[in-house]
Amino acid sequence: MAILVEKGWRSIVVTGNHAAAWGARVAKVQVVAAYPITPQTTVVEKIAEFVEKGELNAVYIRVESEHSAMTACIGASAVGARTFTATAAHGLALMHECLWWASASRLPIVMAVINRAMGPGWNIWTDYGDTMAQRDLGWIQIYCADNQEVFDSVLQAYKLCEDHRVLLPCMVDLEAFILSHTYMPVRVPPQDEVDGWLPPYEPAWALDPEEPITHGNLVFPAHYMEFRYLMQEAMEKAKELIPQVGREYEKRFGLTGLDFMETYRCEDAEMIILTMGTMGVEARISVDKLREKGIRAGVARLRVFRPFPVEHIRRLAEGAEMLTIIDRHISYGAEGALAMETKWALCALDERPPITSFIAGIGGRDVTHKDIERMAEKAHEWMRAGEPREGVWYGVRGLELP
């Protein structure tokens, strides 16, 4: 790893996993509890190295499972420590019960999740099945498309989640191998500048032996709903704060700030391709090619899935004649989460464009710009003929596109 020092800035060439670890380091996390799982392992290995070398003053708790990792994070966050962990796929699934506990206890834990397909059949490559299965829990979800974004998202997640108007945990999601193990340059701002922007965590409440309190109380039907409404309200508040935190970050560090959506050539597009993660970057090449062939395409990459940016989706759709949605996810018996939720967001509009949706790249199958171009061309043809299609599986043998 090459490190160039320039006015306190570091230019490093790192994997997505190490970018996440650097985010935690510069955020000065105080407690890390994690259990290794491919392809997440090197996130926590790197943090262990930082702690071992004295470069990060944190308590590193070794645990026996992901369930325990999240439980340790909950305890640490509850005493007022800035807390970080990372996991993937089955590790995330094992945490499931504790993820509810973290969000409903209103603890701003930040977790890197390396998106990996679920087994069986055993598969360590990427799709969004693991995190999409956790989308109803009250965790903010940010999906990244490059390693700089991974680093930036971890830092901004603390700023956002620790705001007392939010106080919810956050998953920073990055794709297995495509990001987790791919080296890219990352710019790391000087520590003192980050410290000035991200002060130590001030908890709204903290466990204190001098003033004992009980958590996890029985809450009767007469009171439960109001607690849950407060979580919904916090998500709405996060929706307001996400672009604000992003703009602040941009202004302060000159890096790309957090926002809901990134668009490419959408201004005059007849057809917008809506997708997430690295496919949203790959699709830029497809858009250029499609335009050469006479299809005025654009691409929008959704960066934050929770809270779901209903208003952004509506504005995007209002400017387009048709939408093509590509999900790296399938909800069996329905379709991909991005397609389903986009349709929910649009159904209140009087006029909405036709939508064709695809399921692609499940279990780490490569989705190249040629694949995206092919899907978009087909979708364009179908919708021009007034025949949009839903949840079309792309690339399955025996289901080749006509």
């Binding site: 206890s105 004992p212 309190i213 009980t214 958590h215 996890g216 607690f227 407060l230």
Partner: protein
């Protein structure tokens, strides 16, 4: 819980301060009760330590005493007692 009128008055997450018997006298749930034999008891206080309901109280005489208002009769004290000084007796017999 205090009388709260709107969700805006709710705390962020349910928490409570420790209060004796917040759910009433839970000793009425009991089917079996622990009975301590002070002849056998060596005042090691393991029963006091292990009682999940803090229903074992230490007297000035050094012996543990069961608070039957809150003891649910789980039997953990008898199980932990190294001297077998705690007998578990069916309620109607005791």
């Amino acid at each position: 819980m205090a009388e709260l009128r709107t969700y805006e008055e709710w705390p962020l997450t349910p928490i409570s301060k420790p209060t004796a018997g917040a759910l009433g006298k839970t000793g009425t749930w009991r089917t079996f009760r622990p009975v301590i034999d002070e002849e056998k008891c060596v005042k090691c206080h393991l029963c006091w330590l292990y009682c999940p309901d803090a229903a074992m109280e230490l007297g000035e005489d050094g012996f543990p005493h069961v608070n039957y208002d809150y003891c649910k009769g789980c039997g953990i004290c008898a199980n932990e007692c190294p001297k077998k000084a705690i007998e578990i007796v069916r309620e109607e017999v005791a």
